[in-house]
Amino acid sequence: MRLNYPSSIRIIRVPCTGKVDVLHILRCFERGADGVYVVGCREGDCHYQSGNFRAKKRVEQAQQLLDRIGIGGSRVRMCNLSSSDAPLFVRFAEEMHAAVLGAGPNPVRAALASKRTITDPPAAGLNAGTGPLS
């Protein structure tokens, strides 16, 4: 349907959101990403039965940790949708883009920004198992 969504999002493919580790999420922020969101199948629809529930737990774990060290838990988010639901995928992308803009650049990066100029706020999106949305 070629719906448009913000171009700040890059997708990394995994077989199931159950494969996304807390370390992966933290690594993104450590490297300077401004936001990470994990997109998995609808609850109860996971092809591997419980993958997306695990992912939800890890996202919560990451949220608490990022809050406590001052990066901000709102930068990481778990979303669930069915692979044919393109409009919802776009809504999640827009919400995430807005949330990241609202939260401002990653504090880790902002602090060191004085040494370098950064153009565009890249946000890495971890999109799992839902394949292409045409």
Partner: protein
């Protein structure tokens, strides 16, 4: 409807002089056609899936969600 013995249909008494053609023609590309075609292909037969419209999928491809699990029909 006179009573047809079971083995007449499902048994394989082939005409002696020629062995069968290892291919099946499935007429209709809906969910039933697709499933039988896949099962036959995975059992070592060559399948001709004949569909009236320009793509397979039939009525099910038009459905949004399917009961009872409500996951997407596609």
């Amino acid at each position: 409807m006179e009573h047809v013995r079971v083995d007449e249909i499902s048994a394989g008494p082939m005409p002696a002089e020629s062995s069968p053609v290892g291919a099946v023609m499935v007429v209709g590309g809906g969910i039933a056609g697709i499933q039988s075609a896949l099962d036959l292909a995975n059992s070592g037969y060559y399948v001709y899936l004949v569909e009236k419209s320009s793509a397979i999928g039939g009525l099910m491809s038009q459905l949004d969600k399917t009961f009872p699990t409500n996951d997407c029909a596609m």
